[in-house]
Assembly symmetry: C2
Homo-oligomer: 471 residues x 2
Amino acid sequence: MTRERWRSSFSEWYNEVIERAQILDVRYPVKGLYVWFPYGFQVRKHVLGVIRRLLEEKGHQETLFPLLIPEDEFAKEAQHIKGFEDEVYWVTHGGLEPLNVKLALRPTSETAIYPMFKVWIRSHSDMPLKIYQVVNTFRYETKHTRPLIRLREITTFKEAHTAHASWEDAEGQVREAVGIYKAFFDALCIPYTVSRRPPWDKFPGAEYTTAFDTLFPEGRTLQIGTVHNLGQNFARTFGITFENLKGEQEHVYQTCYGISDRVIASLLVVHGDDKGLCLPPVAAPIQAVIIPIWFKGKGDEVNQEVARLKDELAGLRIHVDGRELRPGNKFYDWELKGVPLRIEVGPKDIAAGQVTVVRRDTGEKGALPRAGIKEGIERLLDDIATSLRERAWKEMESRIAKCANLDEAAPILKERGGIVRVDWCGDEACGKALEERLDTDILGTIEEQPKGLCAGCGHEAKHVIQLARTF
Amino acid sequence: MTRERWRSSFSEWYNEVIERAQILDVRYPVKGLYVWFPYGFQVRKHVLGVIRRLLEEKGHQETLFPLLIPEDEFAKEAQHIKGFEDEVYWVTHGGLEPLNVKLALRPTSETAIYPMFKVWIRSHSDMPLKIYQVVNTFRYETKHTRPLIRLREITTFKEAHTAHASWEDAEGQVREAVGIYKAFFDALCIPYTVSRRPPWDKFPGAEYTTAFDTLFPEGRTLQIGTVHNLGQNFARTFGITFENLKGEQEHVYQTCYGISDRVIASLLVVHGDDKGLCLPPVAAPIQAVIIPIWFKGKGDEVNQEVARLKDELAGLRIHVDGRELRPGNKFYDWELKGVPLRIEVGPKDIAAGQVTVVRRDTGEKGALPRAGIKEGIERLLDDIATSLRERAWKEMESRIAKCANLDEAAPILKERGGIVRVDWCGDEACGKALEERLDTDILGTIEEQPKGLCAGCGHEAKHVIQLARTF
């Protein structure tokens, strides 16, 4: 499979594939807002299915809060409002009348949810409280917008919010959330690095932020998930208290964590190639497409076999492409749309008691015996997932470099992008100078001990940090 | 089962049950906006599962359009904007800056979707185009708001939009949509009447509107679904044309149809009683709750049997209530929450090779043999659905009266509410006078031939109309 255009002209590839594979229509008449095509919507549905299952296995309950947040609630947490004030959409009129209190379109839902936590939580026994919702959120982006990556309406915002009776429990929840997101990205075959964002880049109002980033072929990283330990900050602002075991009122400890449409962007980009998408089976609207190969006089025989085959594959997401087109045209369409497996059934296959299978990820062509076909196809789909995951990880890891100093790091970042790791002293001024000198961003610290001196100032190093150009 | 409070003090019953059964929290700090509790969210999910299945069986594809509609698109269809201008929320600011073009929060999505239909549809072969979405929509209600019934954020708006190559095809689609909604309300055991709304009450921009109404215990009807034949009105406004079989450009023919949170309100109200909710099994988050009846020294035996029973009932939505509470307290909780079936397992049941079952709808207590228990429970759940449906229909039908004249109709509407049917000439002025004299609303015409003269003016009758006080 070729990945030349995919690698060298990312924007062109991305815009073209997203439209032609019918993920999103970019022609909606407002900047930064897009329309989900039915095919794209199905991808989104399957991705959400995975995260819902993982969250529910760990006791999160789905709920739904209003979109509109009154200005007074929204402005309560000083850092939070400061972090969002430039990008909040405001509703000022209802009908022809001005509203008494302006309403914010949620950019995120802390200030909608936590006033309710205040009335829901009374005692120790009401916790842990673990809820989530999947909603649309809004950011008035002034930068260049891009489908699924930088949006004004984030259509797929999964946010979880939890409350706990102790700092330790909240820390445990952060670990659980990181574990859930790892399992989620693993299921989607998306590689990631986990960093603790530097304090000046944490979520407004949080104690600290742990973030997941993946790497795009053109060399920049994309933030695809964040987990925040909020400590007691929001609890103090919103007056969320509980009666602890000593009978005293104490503020709760909170965490929140979110993912967005960017996960779907990564799914498309990380596995794509010059022919289009290559979807991991778990997220594919069609896991295998059956193409009948008709020969004169053998049409009925082929069609009957295809119908039997489809029945036997019940439970998998199968589509039979019975259009009156040349097989080659059909192959082209389904390759563009990223269907993981193509099954061809012609008279020769029937005679040989087999089906012909072609993998989307490698282009490899082979045959599977007709007997026990469902197990055969399932195994092949598992193989595809495994090899997509391994390839993607290998690609990302080959572009992570540990550098001893900035002279080593600078040309790498300049020429091929990717992620560099250097030792760092932990000082904010030094960190910001580092970012400026390398014309790049600190993703954050990783769980690894530094071995040398700070690459920025030469003083004692306390952390290893990751740097990359980011979307 | 008692239905005194349910019948006589509807508002009190409704507000109390919606909060205590944990459907919605009404304490969100903005009028007309509510929070879905996890339990309520599950009811909503199962209801949406039913309508999604029905729509997809008939070839509708799910999609998702932006919430924000630019003022110029929104204002294009004159009747449409006129119908909604008093109730649209306007976003006027992004961050601290005023926007160049004001953005409406969709009150419904015709003006978001049809500009895309214009680019999607080229020829006859692109139709029928049948899509739907499930979204939040907004209405700036100035009247008294009420959870699920009159909202400012409609959180559960399922809207379908279709385009066709002929008026006849659009008419066929209206019939299909009416059939889908009948199947949907039948599945939820909600009785309905179908009326064609009078012209002055049709959807703004439609040729005509067919509506579903149900009847609440306090005597008023609630609109729970509408189907609109839009003719070519929006197609002309948005320039949606196709090349017809003669090779000419022609405007497409459109329909749209929607349901909202009100379906869930009906589900709760129609089947409820003085103990709380009574959910039909298809919509119940818990279809059967198992209560272990512990006796001294028999705890383990009971728990083991309960675990085995739960395993055997896999596939049904079962909850085991293992809380350290008296059984009576548990019964009370699950009756309030409307769980259709309670299963009690105690040492006597085990000894007798049975389980004790109690129906929520009738309170009837009985025993089912332990062997073949899953089939037994499934049959019982089906019986519950059937009897809920029959009871609800009977109740509604007992409150529909055909009246020969207004002297007959007036006391009925005044004393017990419900629906009255009278013959009508079809004249708008006469219809509106009728509404005023009876202090009620015309729901619309039904498919029945009039036999007498118009109840309003005494002239020749052309239709039979339904009248009721409405929410």
